[in-house]
């Protein structure tokens, strides 16, 4: 056990000099000048252009693939299909993963990869794709999650049986798993309720819609050593999965991360990388694959659709007595939607005793879903918060007051078994009730929505190192990815520990050969977890600085203290010595004693749960059904905002993504299961003119497990967003909204009827 995990050294009264300020982030200058290297920006001499052949069908048997004409085309250097990769049994982790990257027996969604070419130019590569002859036997397909669960649905995988359902027949099904999570006695709880509301809700799939399409450059040496450059939220996870899929030792694969142009969970998964590697191996040249936006929409991401039935009971005094849900989560073509987050998080923030949830995951003929900020949670919080809103109206109670009456606090045992330590839900609700937005009357003709959300926040395997250079400046190696500004926040914490200006610290992103394993950057874990290992590393350096100062002064180690970036005598009895700065000690001893460096690897624990409240005012145009967002405020507990500017940015970005999902974003399919809106013109994410300024209130209830009290802030800002928007629209037009997106035709039909 690392000391820092047992005792973080958190001190609420500590005078912080750097933490809590908002310096310019170190990766900023290269990003405003065009110098930053994103996935597609690496130019390698001799690189070939790789392109992927994708299925035009939603579901079909691949009877044969003939690549001979493509291989014969001048300029084509390699063609690969599934037969070039090791096979693994269907239904195993590598079996599903390799089939998602390159279809084998069947194509399972439009856009499913089934061959790839490497050629001397993009035009040759595209021509080669057209020469690959595939003989398909088209099968019936299913996309809707409820239809996929029906007994007569077309079956995607013959091997799937429903896990966790004792009553399920031993026959092929699209239902991969049934998960029952609950506690207490809901029958007793509902019997105690004075008001019960039960409704069905639907949400549609959205895409993470990072602006940078996935891109990679693979180079395979004649000794089999693989160099992969790519945009990824997890270099080590990519490396280890590639090692499994290619049946190679991980040490033969080096994954280097580019700057990442947005991920939001969507860059945690391999797509074209195995194909690029295999093409490079065959062609004995570097191969670069950059996905098109159409490929990104059809074959990567997206987020699952949900169908849910939610029931909540409350007493006239406003005490929630029971909550129940039955839900279907649409995993896409393969299992693995992380749907278990939903039943664990959906009601968590209320101090309920009686909860019952039944969740089903189903496969269907669309791309395998990928993580997105708080995977699977916002979709069902939407329903929960809608019912809470409606119950508050029935009781004639302020909607935040009802939430406050039922707010979970320290000591509450959650439905997933953990007992909360210090949490800030009550403080966040109170901050919302006291903010200017909530205290202002709802403007005439508008509707106001409020909703709240929760995310666990994560830790996990993390490794990092910190080195003090001979001139006293500091370099940091991080094995996590930087999705929006973790490098500066982590540098600030190191600077605070060492008592040096943050300008003297530089954090770098490591490749997989530089550091030990790191879990993906996901779940709001990175600034927390990498911060922990870097603070631990800094503290190792401080211990060494003290040792060296003691040696220089020829005094015992306990005669030296480290304060404000200097070693000083611990008291007058130690002797009269001028303080030694970090730079002094580094300059005096780096040659004689070696570099002063710390490294730390640990399974980080102690992440502090996060809670947020969203307030939205909207106006609905009764002629068009269009929703205009007039005012938006995000109130959220950050524990401690290390870099408030970055924290506000997380709150605002999450709110905007939720606004898009609630109002506009959805996959649209034609009758053959082909996506009809695979571009940003028809799949419309919010643009600058769609949104107002997004106000933020940073609540700070410290997480004492972290030296500065921080909680992750990446996921929470999406969790209440769908519910708050739906409640705002419901209140604006007086019709309860139960299906997203709240698009103009959808609302207009309701207004007209």
């Amino acid at each position: 056990m690392h000391d820092i995990l047992e005792n973080s050294g958190f001190d609420a009264g500590k005078d912080l000099k750097i933490v809590g300020t908002s310096p310019v982030k170190h990766d900023g200058p290269d990003k405003v000048t065009g110098r930053a290297k994103f996935g597609a920006d690496l130019m390698v001499p001799g690189a070939l252009v790789g392109k992927v052949l994708r299925s035009p069908h939603a579901h079909a048997v691949i009877k044969s693939i003939d690549c001979s004409k493509a291989e014969a085309l001048a300029g084509v250097k390699a063609v690969v299909t599934a037969g070039d990769f090791p096979d693994f049994p269907q239904g195993t982790m590598p079996g599903d993963m390799t089939r998602n990257c390159m279809a084998r027996e069947k194509v399972l969604y439009e856009g499913h990869a089934l061959a790839a070419v490497a050629a001397t130019s993009e035009s040759v590569a595209k021509a080669a794709l057209k020469l690959i002859e595939v003989d398909y036997e088209v099968l019936p397909h299913v996309i809707d999650p409820a239809a996929a669960k029906a007994p007569d649905a077309p079956i995607l995988h013959d091997h799937i049986r429903t896990k966790g359902d004792a009553d399920a027949a031993d026959a092929p099904t699209n239902v991969t798993e049934r998960l029952d999570i609950g506690m207490g006695d809901v029958d007793k709880g509902f019997a105690e309720a004075d008001e019960i509301i039960e409704r069905e809700f639907t949400t549609e799939p959205m895409h993470q819609s990072y602006i940078e399409p996935q891109a990679c450059v693979a180079q395979v040496g004649d000794d089999g050593q693989i160099d992969l450059w790519c945009c990824t939220q997890g270099t080590h996870v990519f490396r280890d999965r590639l090692a499994t899929l290619l049946k190679m030792p991980s040490s033969k694969i080096k994954v280097t991360q580019s700057e990442m142009g947005g991920g939001f969970g969507g860059k945690t998964t391999l797509y074209a990388e195995p194909a690029a590697i295999m093409l490079s191996k065959k062609a004995r040249r570097p191969v670069k694959i950059v996905l098109t936006r159409s490929e990104v929409f059809r074959a990567t991401g997206p987020v699952c659709a949900t169908r849910s039935r939610i029931k909540i009971g409350v007493t006239n005094a406003g005490r929630i007595t029971a909550a129940e849900a039955e839900m279907i989560f649409q995993a896409g073509a393969f299992p693995g939607s992380m749907f278990d987050n939903a039943p664990k998080a959906m009601f968590t923030r209320y101090n309920l005793e009686n909860v019952k949830t039944v969740s089903y995951e189903v496969v269907c003929n669309r791309a395998k879903v990928n993580a997105f900020r708080a995977p699977c949670v916002p979709q069902v919080v939407f329903g929960v918060e809608g019912i809470i809103d409606e119950l508050a109206q029935k009781l004639g109670m302020d909607p935040l007051e009802l939430r406050l009456k039922n707010a979970a606090a320290e000591g509450y045992k959650t439905v997933f078994g953990e007992t909360f330590g210090p949490i800030g839900y009550v403080e966040t609700l109170e901050a919302a009730m006291n903010c200017d937005h909530y205290k202002s009357p709802v403007p005439e003709g508008q509707g106001r929505g409020v909703a709240t959300g929760f995310w666990f926040n994560r830790g996990g395997d993390t490794t990092g190192s910190l080195t003090i250079t001979p001139d006293g400046s500091v370099t940091i190696m991080l094995g996590t990815s930087d999705v929006a500004g973790s490098r500066i926040s982590i540098s600030m914490m190191a600077a605070e520990e060492l008592g040096i200006p943050v300008e003297k610290v530089r954090a770098n992103l490591a490749d997989t050969s530089t550091l030990g394993n790191n879990r993906v950057t996901a779940g709001s874990r990175t600034t927390f977890s990498s911060g922990m290992v870097i603070i631990d590393s800094a503290r190792q350096c401080i211990a060494e600085l003290v040792r060296r100062a003691a040696e220089i002064w020829d005094v015992p180690e306990d005669g030296v203290v480290f304060e404000d970036g200097q070693c000083r005598p611990a008291g007058s009895n130690v002797g009269e010595f001028d303080p030694l700065s970090v730079a002094d000690i580094a300059a005096k001893t780096s040659v004689s004693h070696g570099a002063i460096a710390g490294h730390s690897e640990m399974h980080v624990t102690g992440a502090g749960p996060g809670f947020g409240v969203h307030l939205i005012d909207v106006e609905v145009d009764k002629e068009t059904g269009g929703v205009s967002v007039k005012r938006y405020t995000v109130i959220e507990d950050a524990g401690k905002a290390i870099h408030p500017g970055q924290v506000e940015g997380q709150y605002q970005g999450g709110a905007a993504q939720g606004a898009g999902w609630a109002l506009n974003e959805a996959y649209m399919y034609d009758e053959d299961g082909r996506m009809e809106n695979a571009g940003f013109l028809d799949y419309r994410i919010p643009v600058a003119s769609d949104l107002p300024m997004i106000d933020t209130v940073i609540v700070e209830v410290p997480n004492p497990n972290h030296p500065y009290g921080l909680r992750g802030v990446g996921e929470v800002p999406v969790t209440p967003s769908l519910g708050a928007m739906a409640n705002a629209v419901s209140n604006a037009i007086g019709i309860r909204q139960v299906s997203l997106p709240l698009s103009p035709p959808h609302l207009l039909a309701q207004i007209d009827s």
Binding site: G28, T33, I211, E259, G261, Q652, V687, A688, S689
Partner: protein, 161 residues
């Protein structure tokens, strides 16, 4: 495929290149001239990441054929900063956290510069509508809009100084 010889000016420097007739300008800027500051997010003119100036006009470089660049003046993000200082837009984006991942930033800076040339004192709404063709998925636009307004104010003040 037979290539076409094109002579053009990029950020004040005369350059020439060979391209195929169907190649887009963003492809040539990035992959032939290796000016990778201009980003390609959609290739259909919907995201604005490849915004450049083309004889002064604000365009998506993915909607321009490379051969059309012959004899034209092109400005990209690589030409935005002065010889010894960042452009006020660049500095304000840094100081006001106007970027997160940074992939949309070059296009937004180019578009914002064109706005401030046309309208040195835009309202928040005018900035929002001008930048409506430049998608950002990280920020929710708030800090982008504030950065542009702050740069505009600073540029107006220095023009009057």
């Amino acid at each position: 495929m037979k290539k076409i010889h094109v002579t053009t000016t990029v950020n004040g420097d005369e350059v020439d290149f060979l391209c195929e007739p169907q190649q887009t300008l963003v492809d040539v800027l990035r992959n032939t001239l290796e000016l990778t500051g201009t980003k390609e997010g959609c290739s259909t003119g919907d995201c604005g990441a490849c915004s450049i100036r083309f004889d002064g006009a604000l365009v998506c470089a993915c909607l321009v054929l490379a051969v059309e660049a012959d004899g034209k003046q092109i400005e990209t993000i690589e030409g935005l900063a002065g010889d010894d200082a960042l452009h006020p837009l660049q500095r304000n984006f840094l100081e006001l956290n106007g970027l997160q991942c940074g992939i949309c930033t070059p296009g937004i800076l180019i578009a914002a510069k064109a706005l401030l040339e046309a309208n040195p004192d835009p309202s928040e709404t005018e900035v929002r509508f001008w930048l409506a063709g430049n998608l950002c998925r990280c920020t929710g636009y708030d800090k982008i809009i504030r950065s542009v307004l702050a740069a505009a104010k600073e540029m107006r003040e220095s023009a009057h100084a």
